[in-house]
């Protein structure tokens, strides 16, 4: 079980033992991590599971898909490391991943 560390905007850390194969979004929602809405249920179509993933992890996390890119580009607070957490499938190689959750979902 990879351990993920979600960091809230106020600096609070939430360590989660995630199941491989679940999405980053569900790993957060299933473990009561606050700050992710996921209104569309994880279909890359609402933009409310926005997170920031450290650039160092890019090769393990992968890059954005075309539609994810479109959704993220609508977000005025997008950062270089922004991802939609419903589009990242958790696996063992993500053990120790730190994910920053923004103050607000748009």
């Amino acid at each position: 079980m990879p351990k993920l560390i979600f960091v809230s905007h106020d600096g609070n850390e939430h360590a989660v033992d995630a199941k491989s194969g679940t999405t980053l979004m569900n790993a957060a929602l299933d473990n009561g991590v606050p700050g992710i809405d996921g209104d569309c249920g994880g279909e890359c179509s609402c933009g409310t599971c926005h997170v920031m993933v450290d650039r160092k992890w890019l090769d393990k996390v992968g890059s954005t898909s075309g539609f994810e890119e479109s959704m993220l580009s609508m977000n005025a607070e997008r950062e270089e490391s922004s991802r939609l957490s419903c589009q990242i499938i958790v696996s063992d190689k993500h053990d120790g991943l730190r994910i920053v959750i923004p103050a607000h979902q748009m």
Partner: protein, 417 residues
């Protein structure tokens, strides 16, 4: 429940009528069934028997496909390469509204223009707006007469949303009634249901255009500031928009910010009066406002549909949609789909999946102002619950004659301390 709030008998009669009709006579572009609120009977039959349905002979005078199930609506909304927003996103008897705002434009133009105004609803800006909205909501509520009948729509819904819109545009507050008038002239006639005369509409549109053109020219001379008109005036993708293309984006922002939230505010009072058990629950636990907000947006669904045009032949739900066909996503139907929402007609402020509603749309055209709309509803209800023991609806709601704007024109109430 008061007689005029109980629509179950009327809906049952409509269900019987709809059950007796041949499927190909069903036409949900008929604005009359939205005005009398029996449209749900039609949607129920379509969802059950033919969720991707082709209507040939229609009130709007042109054929269209109805998409009535939640999952199919999401599919259409998120496949912009198959379903285009051009030239119009409204199922309409007239083409007078086929003007190019970023809502009825595809990528990349849509993306560029939308990004110009997106900062208005950034989290930072919303946080700045919160105390202003709270102050205004409080002032409006404190000015209401107690124990005397008045129209909630006029005194509260329109007041709060028009003040907000004037602020976002840095439009003179004393003239904000003009925005409401222009927006209504435009949107209520949009599907052909409730039309002003052509002269009246042209006159309103012309006045609006000249006013905003003037405002834009002023803002263009000034340093960029954080209001919508200044953003349009300085934005790379919008500053050179001429004539109707400029007007279209102004109108989009007016309609997006004006009658949508207005009708959700009015709908919230109507819904809580219709489902008194929910009102009692809310009065006993004010923290339930959090659940009330998305549930109201689902229940009211202030924009009943959005339209697309197929860019190629597409198979959906076993049907063959042809290139060029009009495809209507009935958000109002998707939000009452029993496969997704249990007991879907009922207001349930603790509904666990209320946030999944389709009222804001999904994908790249998803409502830009959704968080602002939610914030206005939340703050208004927090302030209502601090002040009043009851808002009592004392007569029937008058609904809009439109298959697009799911509007409430008036709602008589008495407020109790």
């Amino acid at each position: 429940m008061k007689n005029f709030l109980d629509e179950s008998e009327k809906l049952d009669e409509a269900r019987a009528l709809v059950a007796s009709m041949p499927l190909d006579e069903i036409d949900v572009s008929d604005w009359n069934i939205f005005q009398d609120n029996t449209v749900f009977a039609y949607f129920e039959r379509l969802r059950q028997e033919d969720p991707v349905h082709y209507h040939e002979n229609t009130k709007v005078g042109k054929p269209y496909w109805s998409i009535t199930k939640f999952s199919d609506i999401k599919f259409v909304d998120t496949h912009n390469e198959l379903f285009s927003s051009e030239p119009s996103i409204v199922l309409s008897a007239t083409d007078a509204f086929e003007i190019p705002s970023f809502l009825n434009t595809d990528a990349p133009k849509h993306d560029d223009q939308r990004k110009v105004v997106a900062p208005i609803v950034s989290p930072t800006n919303l946080a700045n707006l919160e105390p202003i909205i709270r102050q205004r909501a409080g002032d409006i509520l404190d000015g209401l007469p107690i124990g005397v009948e008045f129209d909630w729509v006029e005194r509260v819904s329109i007041e709060l949303t028009s003040m907000m819109l004037a602020s976002l545009m840095n439009f003179p507050q004393e003239n904000r009634h003009k925005i409401v008038r222009w927006g209504d002239a435009f949107s209520l006639g949009i599907d052909g249901g409730q039309v002003l005369s052509d002269e009246q509409r042209k006159a309103e549109t012309q006045e609006c255009f000249e006013y905003f053109l003037n405002l834009r020219n002023q803002r263009a001379q000034e340093a960029p500031s954080h209001d919508l008109v200044s953003m349009l005036a300085h934005g790379e993708a919008t500053k050179d928009l001429q004539g109707v293309a400029f007007l279209a984006n102004v109108m989009l922002l007016i309609i997006g910010g004006n009658d949508t939230t207005r009708n959700s505010i009015s709908g919230s009072v109507l819904a809580l009066n219709t489902y008194q058990d929910q009102f009692e629950k809310l009065k006993n636990d004010h923290s339930l406002v959090k659940g009330l907000v998305p549930e109201i947006v689902r229940w009211q669904t202030p924009l009943a549909h959005m339209m697309r045009v197929a860019t190629q032949d597409v198979q959906l739900g076993g049907k063959n949609i042809s290139k060029g066909d009009a495809v209507v996503m009935w958000y109002l139907s998707g939000n009452r789909d029993e496969e997704i929402f249990d007991n879907a007609h009922k207001l349930d402020i603790e509904r666990s999946n209320a946030r999944q509603h389709v009222a804001f749309g999904y994908g790249i055209h998803r409502c830009l102002g959704n968080r602002l709309a939610e914030m206005q509803l939340r703050i208004l209800w927090e302030e209502i619950l601090k002040r009043f023991s009851d808002i009592e609806v004392v007569g029937p709601a008058v609904r809009s004659k439109s298959s697009f704007i799911r509007g409430i024109q008036s709602l008589p109430v008495i407020v109790h301390k």
